[in-house]
């Protein structure tokens, strides 16, 4: 049964240095507050897994928390590049970042395999792409594609993660992708009840699969209620599938929680200027890690709340894109 604890305690107890951590939320319900707590607790050598590493992973990567990233699309949605991610890949700053790259369909199926307790999933995909070629050559012994040497790791080691497989019924050649089995899943949801049953709705992405594929989980919620009345299209994670629940109102900001908050689009635009240079990013990071820094806003954006990233003095706000 899930334990209801503070966010600080949940992160302290669930996430260790070197863990493989999947923070999921497909453009909605992104667990920003939990990610910021991981930065404040200075976790290191994490393998970060996420289909769409956007601002939250840009922040974790820039803060030096990650040694490897497993992903399928890394950008600032509607704005542009992730500058900290690019700086890590292109210049190894602040530390080198190993990457393992997939398509969305491949990543989604890797989570499905993990949740299903299977070693791999099957799909029609990757044929003819260099993603496939890269993984086929990916013996992590260097070579044309600059693969890195193997590093022993709990669940995500060396070797290809995409391989051909023959259908035993038709003989057709399909594509197999290896399961992802994170140590910890971190997600944000609208609500939980006092037994730790979790309910989320709207765009629910791959969160259910991420939690079920992981050994442990941390779920932040907008509110804890006596009873979870039904919502159309809701996903329910029974409390016995969840390790820790922490109430963090606004914990998805600048992303949103349908029915509770709206996306703070200005933050995404402002982040571009902050993340562009190491110096402005480092100031942002110092402020996040200072006492009381980076707490989620207590009122929704657009309602006069503190719905902005800590802004370095003089950082320009780029105009509408």
């Amino acid at each position: 049964m899930a334990e209801i604890v503070s966010l600080t305690e949940a992160v302290e107890r669930a996430i260790r240095d070197g863990d493989a951590v999947a923070m999921e939320g497909f453009t909605h319900l992104i667990p920003f507050a939990a990610g910021h707590e991981v930065i404040r607790q200075r976790r290191r050598d994490l393998t970060l897994i996420r289909m769409t590493p956007d601002l939250i992973y840009d922040q974790l990567i820039g803060a030096g928390c990650a040694r490897k990233l497993i992903f399928s699309w890394g950008g600032n949605p509607g704005v542009g590049s992730l500058h900290r991610f690019r700086d890590a890949v292109e210049n190894s700053w602040p530390v080198p970042l190993e990457i393992e790259e997939h398509s969305h369909a491949g990543m989604a199926n890797r989570y499905v395999a993990g949740a299903s307790g299977l070693p791999f999933a099957v799909l029609r995909g990757y044929n003819g792409t260099d993603l496939y070629r890269l993984e086929t050559l990916n013996d992590h012994s260097g070579g044309a594609w600059g693969g890195r040497p193997p590093r022993s790791q709990q669940s995500h080691g060396a070797g290809p993660t995409i391989k051909p497989i023959t259908c035993p019924f038709t003989g057709e050649t399909l594509t197999a992708v290896s399961a992802v089995r994170p140590d910890v899943a971190v997600v944000h949801a609208q609500r939980a009840d006092r037994s730790g049953n979790v309910q989320l709705w709207g765009i629910t992405g791959v969160q259910k699969e991420a939690v079920l594929a992981s050994a442990r989980s941390v779920v932040t919620v907008e509110e804890i209620v006596d009873e979870l009345d039904p919502r159309p299209g809701a996903v329910v994670l029974p409390g016995w599938t969840v390790t820790f629940v922490a109430r963090v109102k606004g914990g998805a900001h600048p992303s949103y929680a349908l029915g509770y908050s709206v996306r703070d689009n200005d933050y995404y635009v402002a982040w571009d200027a902050i993340a562009r240079e190491r110096e402005t990013f480092t100031r942002w990071l110092d402020e996040l890690c200072s006492p009381g820094g980076g707490d989620p806003p207590q009122t929704p954006p657009g309602h006069g709340g503190a719905a902005r990233p800590p802004m370095p003095p003089g950082a320009p706000l780029r105009g509408a894109i």
């Binding site: 497909f26 453009t27 909605h28 289909m51 769409t52 992903f71 399928s72 699309w73 890394g74 950008g75 949605p77 509607g78 590049s81 992730l82 991610f85 690019r86 890949v89 292109e90 790259e101 997939h102 398509s103 969305h104 369909a105 989604a108 199926n109 989570y111 499905v112 799909l123 029609r124 995909g125 990757y126 044929n127 003819g128 792409t129 260099d130 993603l131 070629r133 044309a144 594609w145 600059g146 693969g147 890195r148 057709e172 050649t173 709207g202 765009i203 629910t204 992405g205 791959v206 699969e209 299209g233 996903v235 349908l258 709206v262 996306r263 689009n265 200005d266 635009v269 105009g319 509408a320």
Partner: protein, 254 residues
């Protein structure tokens, strides 16, 4: 009415979609064009986004593929594994509408890395997202991309999503079920694959665009149709609808 090259491109993209089609919509330029089509000649166009929203009916331009408005107006909202496995993979969707950072003469798309090598690229791009399987499994694909020496290359630095591979027969050999890219829509005109060689050929140009200008803005010896169609300028209704969308998008940032 005067208009910009980008507006012409978006209008041209919208015109490529027919009413009643099902369309898997990529982020950025394709989303603008698909929403414009729905607002003008194709009110029954079914917009499908990889965030799992099927039949979204946004009344302003969504800022991201996970905009709350898409979920609130959709016929159905499904999980990400489901959108790819049940909806895209079996070939149910008529047209995949994609953008590109680089595209080559066989319509292969790169959104991964440019320059250097993979381990040490000159430019790191966002990566694949849903595009490889959209390009493989939609019945056909339309690409919207601004045309330049940098974006139009002889051979892409990295094949993120397959067009016609290295030419005729490749899609069949690779087992890709969709027919592949049927149009590349740029800010200069429209390209279509040559029926024999599958090499993309400029078959239409916008008013005032010369064949030599189109040739100059391509990194390969771009073939131009003998008599390229002169594509009609945007109508006042098209421009009005587009600007209304863009206005609402700009306002939603304030």
């Amino acid at each position: 009415m005067t208009y910009t090259a980008d507006e012409m491109m978006t209008v041209s993209g919208a015109r490529a979609l027919r009413d009643g089609m099902t369309c898997f919509v990529g982020i950025g330029l394709p989303s603008s064009a698909a929403n414009l089509a729905r607002a003008t000649h194709a009110p029954s166009l079914v917009l499908i986004y990889e965030s799992g929203t099927i039949g979204a009916k946004p009344d302003r331009l969504p800022l991201s593929i996970g905009d709350g408005m898409l979920a609130e107006t959709a016929d159905a909202v499904v999980s990400v594994p489901e959108i790819f496995n049940y909806w895209l993979q079996p070939g149910r969707i008529d047209v995949g509408f994609l953008g590109a950072a680089q595209i080559d003469k066989f319509g292969n798309i790169n959104t991964t890395v440019i320059g250097g090598d993979y381990g040490n690229p000159k430019v790191r791009l966002p990566g694949a997202g849903g595009a490889p399987e959209i390009a493989a499994s939609c019945r056909e694909v339309i690409v919207v991309v601004r045309q330049s020496h940098r974006s139009f290359v002889e051979r892409v630095d990295f094949v993120t999503s397959v067009g016609y591979g290295s030419g005729p027969g490749d899609r069949e050999r690779l087992g890709l079920t969709g027919a592949g890219p049927k149009k590349i829509i740029t800010d200069l005109g429209v390209l279509e694959p040559d029926p024999e060689t599958l090499e993309f050929t400029m078959t239409g140009v916008y008013p005032g665009v010369s064949a030599s200008a189109a040739k100059e803005r391509a990194g390969w010896d771009l073939a131009i149709a003998a008599e390229p169609e002169i594509i009609a300028a945007p109508t006042p209704a098209e421009l009005e609808a587009l600007r209304l969308f863009q206005g609402t998008r700009a306002r939603s940032h304030q």
